[in-house]
């Protein structure tokens, strides 16, 4: 269970694809806004190369899609498949967190 890949190939919480999907779950964003949001909520600074490498893979898998724009800064949004993949990844992470917390005697907050 822990460390297992989801069907969409998402695994670790700091995987760039997971971070991007998590950011887009709050609404469409272009590259710079994605990087800023990810740095804010995860403390991870994704460079342009890593960010667009992950965007390329996610778009190939149909987990995100570009939005039409006249601006050079093209925004992306999460697709239905992307939402399902992110839900799988988050569920796996939650299971891992629950096991770790129970073994440490910690109490985690419930999901709203």
């Amino acid at each position: 269970m822990a460390g297992k890949r989801t069907p969409a190939g998402l695994r670790r919480p700091n995987d760039p694809p997971v971070l991007i999907l998590t950011s887009l779950a709050a609404g469409p964003k272009h590259g710079h806004a994605l990087a800023k949001d990810i740095e804010d909520f995860a403390g991870v600074a994704l460079g342009p190369g890593a960010l667009y490498g992950a965007i390329t893979r996610l778009e190939e898998r149909g987990l995100i899609e570009p939005l039409t724009t006249d601006d050079r800064r093209r925004p992306y949004r999460i697709t239905g498949a992307g939402s399902a993949a992110l839900a799988d990844a988050v569920t796996n992470m939650r299971q891992l967190a629950d096991v770790g917390a129970s073994r440490l005697g910690l109490t985690l907050g419930t999901l709203s």
Binding site: G31, H32, A50, R74
Partner: protein, 303 residues
């Protein structure tokens, strides 16, 4: 900095990626670390787009990539084969009569399969020729012109040097041709490097064309079969070359070191070791190409 990325990737993402880099760098110049990270990411896209790793690219692309990998390893193998041919010149005369057949048999296997390999490559090129003509007529020449012109320039350079070099060699004795004349040896090495570069450039041109040409499924399957056969031939030749070396080491080690008949020097020579190593590396690379082809075969046949 985006020159590190494949052309197709740049066409799709170039503008937005450039905008992101401007936002990331701000007013100052990009740092060395920033440039290195961009170059690394660009090379990763080349690898990802090559069809040699992962299963996200279509089956036809994976089969094409595997076949092209075999072609590239064949180029290295040809260079190793040329070295083997040089090392094994007149070996039979140095061997006792009773022990010649095994070594001669191994040598004949290498020689015969080298022609078979060349024939397979020519056959593969011929099968792709109609698609290549369509590609050129469709305006594809500009995308491969640089590769082909460089290959032609190197070919002309190689041919331009070989004639005076041959005339020079004609006036030297065997000892001088095989290292006693340092000037001749130096020029020969330079010419050999130019020939190797020529082969590499023609292979690069072939790969550049093959990656852009739309091959019919039947031709793609034929290329796959030819690639598998060529990889098999390379493996057999490598084993035969190793057996030839073993036979010479056992029965005529003096030939390998160029010492007097009947002496027992070490059968290890750096040139032969490098030759066998290159052959082995080529076979391993070709083996990966074959795995790529066969792993995608069922999916290709079903499509």
């Amino acid at each position: 900095m985006m020159c590190w990325y494949p052309r197709r990737w740049r066409d799709r993402y170039g503008d937005e990626f450039a905008a992101l880099m401007e936002d990331a760098v701000g007013d100052g110049p990009p740092t060395l670390g920033f440039k290195v990270s961009i170059a690394r990411a660009g090379l990763r896209e080349h690898i990802h787009g090559s069809g040699l790793f992962g299963d996200r690219t279509p089956a036809a692309e994976r089969v094409r990539a595997g076949s092209l990998l075999v072609l590239c390893t064949w180029t290295i193998f040809v260079l190793a084969g040329a070295s083997f041919s040089k090392v094994s010149e007149h070996f039979a005369q140095a061997m006792p009569v009773s022990s010649r057949p095994f070594a001669q048999g191994a040598f004949d296997v290498v020689a015969t399969l080298s022609f078979v390999g060349g024939f397979l490559v020519i056959l593969g090129a011929s099968a792709a020729l109609p698609a290549f003509v369509r590609f050129i007529r469709g305006g594809g020449w500009s995308t491969v012109r640089g590769h082909v012109l460089r290959a032609i320039a190197l070919t002309l350079l190689s041919l331009g040097v070989v004639i005076p070099l041959s005339l020079w060699a004609h006036h030297l004795n065997e000892l001088q041709r095989n290292g006693a004349d340092p000037t001749y040896s130096g020029v020969f090495v330079i010419w050999a490097v130019v020939v190797a570069a020529t082969l590499a450039q023609w292979t690069a041109a072939g790969v550049a064309v093959a990656r852009r040409v739309a091959l019919p499924r039947g031709v793609l399957r034929l290329e796959a079969v030819l690639a598998i056969t060529l990889a098999g031939a390379m493996a057999v030749m490598t084993v035969a070359a190793a057996l030839w070396w073993g036979s010479l080491a056992q029965n005529a080690p003096w030939f390998l070191q160029g010492t007097a008949n009947g002496t027992s020097p070490s059968p290890f020579t750096p040139q032969l070791a490098v030759t066998l190593a290159l052959m082995t590396i080529s076979v391993v690379g070709a083996g990966y190409g074959v795995m790529r082809v066969t792993g995608s075969w069922t999916e290709l046949r079903a499509s």
